[in-house]
Amino acid sequence: MKEEITITIDGVEIKTKTGEFILRAALNAGIYIPHLCFHPDLPPHGSCRVCTVKVNGRHMASCTTPAEDGMVITSDDAELLDLRKAVIEMLFVEGNHFCMFCEMSGKCELQAVAYRLGILVPRYPNLFPQREVDASHPDVMLDHNRCILCGRCVRASDEKDGKHVFELMERGAKTRLGVDAENNLGETNLSIDDKALDVCPVGALLIKDTAYRIPIGERQYDKTPVGSQHKGNK
């Protein structure tokens, strides 16, 4: 069924299968396209838009666009770099992200992608929203201040854990992460070994009593930038 096809990313020809998403094909071929809401173990979500590339000149999210034979894709150019930075900066100002005292600093994907793309400070003013911390669960803390609404936990809890603990609620600028309970996370059947906790790219879902076991400075992205196993983008 799935035939082998060839696509070109930034002038490099790679082989993939019909229908494979461009981002997956790129990562499998060792080419890094910056991304956030995408997680290799989950179906794509297409929401953060960081992985946007140009497909035959059109802007498409590479995580949700199926590859077709002969596609010519641009990922590494100045315009896309600036647009990706802009979107990441939007995520920073939308929530309350204080890297300097966040437990995830050094292993946070938002921070890591920002560093990799060379963001020093967001071009947009902080919105400083009022958001809550839900510490009702015995093992897990949900800090809405840091949530980037990537939907990873929603998909993981549904598809991997079979629980559907999370769902995006409301809409527009009021969109927030909801939990499967009348009041709070403590009333759900979320457990400490759920995949949903594992996939959070930021510090929105944290396991209690595990903080700072690895000192800052010795964490994953303190040593090598995100995606450094792949070649490709700056």
Binding site: P44, G46, S47, C48, R49, V50, T52, H59, A61, T64, T65, P66, L83, A86, V87, M90, L91, V93, E94, R123, Y124, P125, L127, I148, L149, H164, V165, F166, E167, L168, M169, E170, R171, G172, A173, K174, T175, G178, V179, D180, A181, E182
Partner: protein, 600 residues
Amino acid sequence: MALELRNQAVNVNEIVSNHGTERHHLMNIVRDAQDAFGCVSGDTAKAIADAMGIHMVEVEGVVSYYHFLTRKPSGKVTIYLSKGAAPSINGVRELTSVLEEVTGSKFRKSGADDAVGLEWTSCIGMSDQEPAALVDGVVITNIDADKAGSLVAHLVNGGDPKEFSTETGDGKNSSDRIHAMVNNNIRKKGEIIFGDRIVGDAIRKLVAMEPSAVLDEVKNSNLRGRGGAGFPCGLKWDFCLKNEAANRYIVCNADEGEPGTFKDRVLLTEQPELVFEGMAVAGYVLNAEEGIMYLRAEYEYLYEYLLNVLNKMREANLLGCNIAGMDGFNFDIKIQLGAGAYVCGEETALLESTEGKRGEPRDRPPFPVSNGYMGEPTAINNVETLSAAARIIEKGADWFKSFGTEKSAGTKVLSVSGDVERPGVYEVPFGITLAELLREAGGENAKAMTVGGPSGKIVSSADFGRRIAFEDMATGGSMVVFGPDSDILQIANDYMEFFIEESCGRCTPCRVGTTLLTRHLEKIRAGRGTKSDINYMINLGKVITGMSRCGLGLTASNPVLSTIENFSELYDGLLTGEEFVPIHDMDLAVRIGREIANFN
């Protein structure tokens, strides 16, 4: 009806069993629950989830998404007052304070204890008779202070909103099954959509033709989508046909939510058979047996009427089995009501909503022609497009092409409102200039107008020579006219607020960018803007346009970008001479802080 009474009458299990436990029934179930209980509380959501075998958070995700579904009641009965450009022009701001005074409630702050709650809602499709409101699905139009007072008095006394007024509008609005005070305001009838016809003519003609000949006729007519995007109708059907499938679906997009548009309201009132015949034409071409009309919640007052029209068409053998005596031509139509979400007019969001989910647009590809409703190939067309398709079958492609321009065949039904003497619906041939339209509608004094609503462009009189046509200004038909005294940047600001509320919130650039853009517009309007803020807004607009997931994000910056382009002098007049002014107004913050601290 008092809430307590409603509670006793029904229970959740009954509602669920009335529809079925499959996931795609969730929209109808939560709608019924809202009707029965006045809200969908946590307990109700839990009970629905249990009865359907899904999770409570799934129910709440849906309920929280749609404007007319609420988790807490806002009043024993709620007045949803329409806001936007046309309401503003017709005095909704003054009405706001009147309503707050007579109800004792506050907009956005109404609670269960209020006898009459007050909520805002985006355009309800009554721009030609604003201020207007919805109360339990009943449309109240042309509201002045007197009418507001008597409405509230009626509701406070426990009156049924349906019985508030005996006043009915023109045409079929006065028929038993509509009985609404809505007026059609058809100011100009064209040959195609509002031309005289006999019900069933399109279907009778249809069955004498091969499906492939019908498709060819539609293709030859050059009919393009009337929702605004202008995709060739025949080509869409052809794509859909080429996808092998056991089932195909025809979906009619009757979710016209673009502020300022109301033409489908009139079409559905006066020519519903034509619309349904158009769906049958599509069904015949695509060998589909099921059609779904997605009707916006704001038009629920037409629901019973439309169901009755469908019944009459079945009785006349224009729908159902072996239609018009043709063996094996089976096609029927059901109506799916929405629950208040502009973005559901986007075709893939509409499909999600029809499947009982949050109305978030889907990733494309795949397109609905291959993976549409329930994953099956689906043709989604606008109300007006389907009507035109039926007429093309009746009268032929050549006749259709005799109207309009070479590249834009046929007519366009326009919704005209705002500062004009004759607001209403105009069916005009493509190619008409904005100036000609303004003359017909009595709006020659206009200094600006919106072509295509907030997602379209705000143009100045310099552009009034331009034409309504795919080759010049393509539009779904929302034309809001602004007179000499209008505050154009206030309008742009209102339009941006609209997008902030109506964005589905899934993708970053639209969810965050609309807020950021609005803040800068507000900064400039407050007289604190600098030249660099204009560039900032242009660049931010490019990010939102270039990175968003669907058409809403693609166009959400237009109110700012089109006014920067067409009204640069308004911006220039507001800029300070300074090099840089921070967006955070420190003086204001200190002043507010001192007031809070009582430190003067």
